[in-house]
Symmetry: C2
Subunit: 159 residues, 2 copies
């Protein structure tokens, strides 16, 4: 239900959040660590820059860095910037101005359910910022006794 674009974008921002205050990070570093196709990541970072989430510096020693501290970037904002409104269906979106094409939105019994779904989802995504995510990440890192830059995933193909 989430595009690859958004998935990669969040992973990239997590990476940048973990390296906040440590200078610019290069595209190909992020790509390697987060297992993202380099050229695709390029486009995504460009979009994130356009959205005001990151800054970039060219030339040697350059790379990408967050445009504001991690706690001021919510998951919801990123997902919206990449995939558009969070609503499962356009007619219950609060940010967009779309129709869903149902015969009569006012009497549609489905709309109220979609709206509940949208609200439940938005509550989670808008209620979480990248500082939170960093904290969770480092907790797991601690308990799992794992360290920086696990070069290759251990492929856990259950679910």
């Amino acid at each position: 239900m989430l595009s690859s674009r958004a998935k990669y974008a969040t992973r990239a921002l997590l990476d940048l959040s973990l390296h906040y205050d440590h200078g610019p990070v290069q595209i190909h570093e992020i790509a390697r660590r987060q297992n993202i196709p380099v050229k695709f990541l390029e486009q995504i970072l460009l979009a994130l820059k356009l959205g005001g989430f990151v800054q970039s510096r060219k030339g040697p020693g350059g790379g990408y860095l967050l445009a504001r501290p991690p706690d001021l970037i919510t998951l919801g904002a990123v997902v919206r910037a990449m995939d558009g409104p969070i609503a499962p269906i356009s007619c219950v979106s609060v940010s967009g101005f779309h129709e869903c094409g149902c015969p009569d939105p006012d009497t549609c019994g489905l709309r109220t359910v979609w709206k509940e779904a949208r609200d439940a989802l938005a509550r989670v995504l808008d209620g979480t910022n990248f500082a939170d995510i960093c904290v969770r990440h480092r907790e797991h890192q601690g308990t799992a006794e794992e360290f920086t830059d696990t070069l290759l995933a251990k492929s856990t193909p259950k679910e």
Copy 2:
């Protein structure tokens, strides 16, 4: 975040639920009332039949009808049958067996959030069946003073 397929499927099932106990309903009737492209609806109903949600009868007087009472069909089941797992990202799906490609699922700070999102969404969708939706629909119908078969949608052809 929801495919047209799933959107139309739920509208079609709502229509069939409202006509439960009233004999088969023809594809083109559903299409007209619910404002769905006929040929696309054909495929969708076929899929719904394969999924055991509806039955069909050919020939004159034929059409589609629910395979079980509306209160035994949840929104979640339908969405899953159409779009696959409800999870925003594959690695937190309980029904599917996919990887998300992140370097280390065990320490990924994003996974816990995606999981919360998935659970919030699943709670709503799995907790609602088509009998509920019919009730809501008829309530709104009452308050809006609308009646059967709004012949033409008010045609807002954006989205």
